[in-house]
């Protein structure tokens, strides 16, 4: 290649760039309408799609219910609500990119976080940079909220609020338990909650005989399970997402690994888990941040837990679980905050959220210093005869803990 043609091509390329910018910057903005848009980057496809779909269901039910009731009241006017979905295909960097796109290009009023602690943490940097109030419907790990951010709020209580009651129950009701085995997915939330479990167990004098991580995408847990079997723990604690846990449970059966208590987070709360695991799901314990059996009367557009369950069942034909309910309440919280603040101004809405103290169908909502909710008591439940029954807190317990998982 001659030097002049090199220069020419370089120049061509740069002209390309320049023209590209000019053309792109001519893109028009949004037309002014009485609509509040909320950006929702979600994993609608990819390995986390089951969880992403649930979040979408929750948001949609809220938006529909709010709009049917006349919309969101901002000072003296009523605004319709519209959720702007973007699929980040379970790819975290894409989630961050989309979060920024929703803010700068789609110019949404507010945003919801992506799914899960990992992606929520990643995208929270963007919303903090732009001063965009964001509610995380599916992030519980404290590591997500320890950046000192002011614009991130979360509806899940911190992980220890799940592991502590669980450990108390086991210590009290199953004195035979001395040794604990922990198997965790090497991912933000599953690893974080496993570490909390480790701490909770040690605090009560249990002996943690096994604590290993498995890589994301692992399909064969035979080695880990064989080791667990060899250690003969009385309590097995496994973390991961629904696909992982179904696999682990099945392979436990294959290798005849059994224990008096088997706890799995976060999959057994879903009907899909019970369906896929069949008889193997019996007596598996778990904890989650909400359960349709709770009974609260709230200021939100649903009014009460029973009404929420009813509307959800009408729209989707199934009972809601905590993922969908959390997403719906995230929408409700934006609505309550906007209506209380009387404006769409981001700083004011943010301040209203920070000082909020309301009762909702989800439970009492009050956010702590870090933005994470601190006012809830998460339920512990067990799968008995194919359905999830609540065994804690005592106010709403439906049954007692059954011992023995084959």
């Amino acid at each position: 290649m001659t030097r002049s043609s090199v220069k020419k091509c370089l120049g061509n390329g740069m002209m390309f760039l320049a023209v590209f910018f000019l053309v792109a910057s001519l893109s028009t903005g949004q037309a002014a309408e009485r609509v509040i848009t909320i950006g929702a980057p979600l994993p609608l496809t990819g390995p986390l799609s089951p969880e992403g779909q649930k979040q979408a269901q929750g948001y949609d039910l809220w938006a529909e219910t709010a709009n049917k009731a006349g919309g969101v009241k901002v000072a003296t006017e009523h605004y319709k609500v519209k959720i702007v979905y973007n699929d980040y295909q379970s790819n975290t960097p894409r989630a961050v990119q989309l979060a920024e796109k929703l803010i700068t290009e789609d110019k949404v009023n507010f945003t919801f976080s992506p799914f899960g602690s990992g992606a929520t943490k990643a995208a929270s940097g963007v919303s903090e940079k732009y001063g965009m109030p964001t509610i995380a419907a599916t992030a519980s790990s404290e590591e997500v909220y320890n950046q000192g951010y002011k614009y991130l709020f979360g509806t899940f209580t911190p992980n220890p609020t799940l592991t502590e009651p669980l450990s108390d129950i086991v210590k009290e009701k199953v004195p035979a338990v001395k040794k604990v085995a922990i198997l965790a997915r090497n991912d933000l939330f599953p690893l974080a909650i496993a570490q909390c479990m480790d701490a909770s167990a040690k605090k009560r004098g249990f002996n943690v005989v096994f604590f290993e991580k498995y890589a994301i995408g692992t399909m064969d847990h035979a080695s880990a399970l064989t080791q667990i079997r060899g250690a003969q723990p009385e309590w097995i604690f496994a973390t991961g997402y629904i696909n992982d846990l179904i696999l682990i449970r099945k392979q436990m059966g294959d290798l005849k690994v059994s224990a008096p208590v088997v706890t799995m987070i976060a999959g057994p709360a879903y009907k899909e888990f019970v369906d896929a695991a069949g008889p193997l799901a019996e007596n598996i314990t778990s904890a989650s941040w909400w359960h349709p059996a709770v009974r609260y009367k709230g200021e939100d557009v649903f009014g009460s837990t029973e009404n929420y369950n009813k509307l959800f069942r009408e729209k989707y034909g199934i009972i809601p679980d905590y993922a969908q309910a959390s997403a719906s309440v995230a929408g409700c919280l934006f609505q309550i905050a906007i209506e209380k603040a009387g404006t769409l101004d981001r700083k004011k809405v943010r301040d209203t959220l920070a000082s909020m103290n309301v009762m909702t169908f989800w439970g009492p909502v009050r956010f702590g210093e870090t933005g994470q909710i601190i006012s809830l008591k998460p339920p512990v439940f067990q799968i008995q005869k194919g359905t999830q029954v609540v065994i804690f807190p005592p106010e709403i317990a439906q049954a007692n803990l059954l011992v023995g998982v084959k």
Binding site: T45, G46, P47, S49, P50, S90, L183, N186, E212, K213, Y214, A215, G217, T218, M219, D220, H221, A222, S223, A224, T226, Q227, R229, G230, N243, I246, L247, Q251, G253, D254, L255, K256, A276, G278
Partner: protein, 288 residues
């Protein structure tokens, strides 16, 4: 006791691994093409078995011929249509081509079937065998048995049939084979198709044991790489040995270093072999 169970786990896994890798090894050895599509072929085999079970009630072990047939046609088409054009081209070209093809086909699968994990849940699940304190799930055992059977079948075909001998001849020396009257382009297409068949069969077997998703294609491919280098290119006994070795290595590796390191261990082994013994455990010459 623990070690024996771990060993058995590894061997059972290894038999399956051998079936996964043998088609890939053959294609690499004969065509000197690294077929990135191999992982996706396996997944297609798995989906075939899954849908055959869901829609037609055919047990995955019995749908092997169906999966094999579909992949045969698919692979043959790909080879004669596209890959034959670049067979003599440098590594980069063939690798990038199969990578692009894989991206296309894999994403087609994701769009068609979603990336959600499917699982074949048998109406009458096979049980668990317990021998002297060692437990082996029967579905894994059946899969391993069939895998070894199929691999053995392939070996017999290569050894005893005319077409098989022609394939081996092309692998050894393309020009000489051509001079002997072997239609090299046809052999290439056939070999590639056989690679597809083995992948489809492996996929059928795998559907019994593991969840099915287009996202599993790359992990399968990774295993195939390691097994090929361990066992030597284009060699069926090599693939078997490589597969068993990898299975046992991963099993014990998980015990020694923790389950999350099993895959890393296999890759480090790969690198060490590449550096110090590129011809594999058995020492047969591969291509450069």
């Amino acid at each position: 006791m623990l070690y024996l169970q771990i060993l058995v786990n590894g061997i059972v896994l290894g038999g399956l691994y051998a079936c996964i890798a043998v088609g890939f090894s053959l294609v690499w050895g004969v065509l000197n093409v690294i077929n990135i599509l191999h992982g996706t072929f396996i997944v297609i085999g798995s989906y075939t078995a899954y849908f055959a079970y869901i829609k037609l009630g055919i047990h995955p072990l019995l749908s092997i011929p169906i999966a094999a047939a579909i992949l045969f046609l698919l692979a043959y088409a790909f080879q004669s249509g596209m890959i034959n054009k670049v067979v003599a081209a440098p590594v980069l070209t063939t690798l990038t081509l199969t990578f692009g093809l894989d991206l296309f086909v894999n994403n087609l699968l994701i769009v068609a079937f979603k990336a959600d994990y499917r699982k074949v849940i048998l109406e009458h699940p096979l049980g668990v065998l317990t021998l002297a304190g060692i437990t082996i799930p029967e579905d894994k055992l059946a899969a391993m048995g069939l895998a070894l059977l199929l691999t053995g079948l392939l070996f017999w075909v290569l050894d005893a049939s005319r077409v098989g001998r022609a394939i081996v001849a092309v692998r050894m020396d393309r020009e000489a084979a051509a001079l002997m009257g072997v239609k090299v382009k046809k052999i290439y297409a056939l070999t590639f198709a056989i690679g597809g068949v083995m992948a489809g069969a492996a996929g059928s077997l795998i559907s019994l044991i593991y969840p099915i998703s287009p996202l599993n294609s790359l992990p399968f491919l990774g295993k195939a790489f390691v097994i090929c280098v361990l066992g030597g290119l284009g060699s069926v006994p090599g693939a078997m040995l490589g597969g068993l070795t990898l299975g046992v290595l991963e099993s014990f590796g998980a015990l020694a270093f923790g389950p999350e390191h099993a895959v890393t261990l296999s890759f480090i082994t790969l690198i060490l072999f590449l550096l110090f013994r590129p011809t594999g455990i058995m020492g047969k010459r591969g291509y450069e």
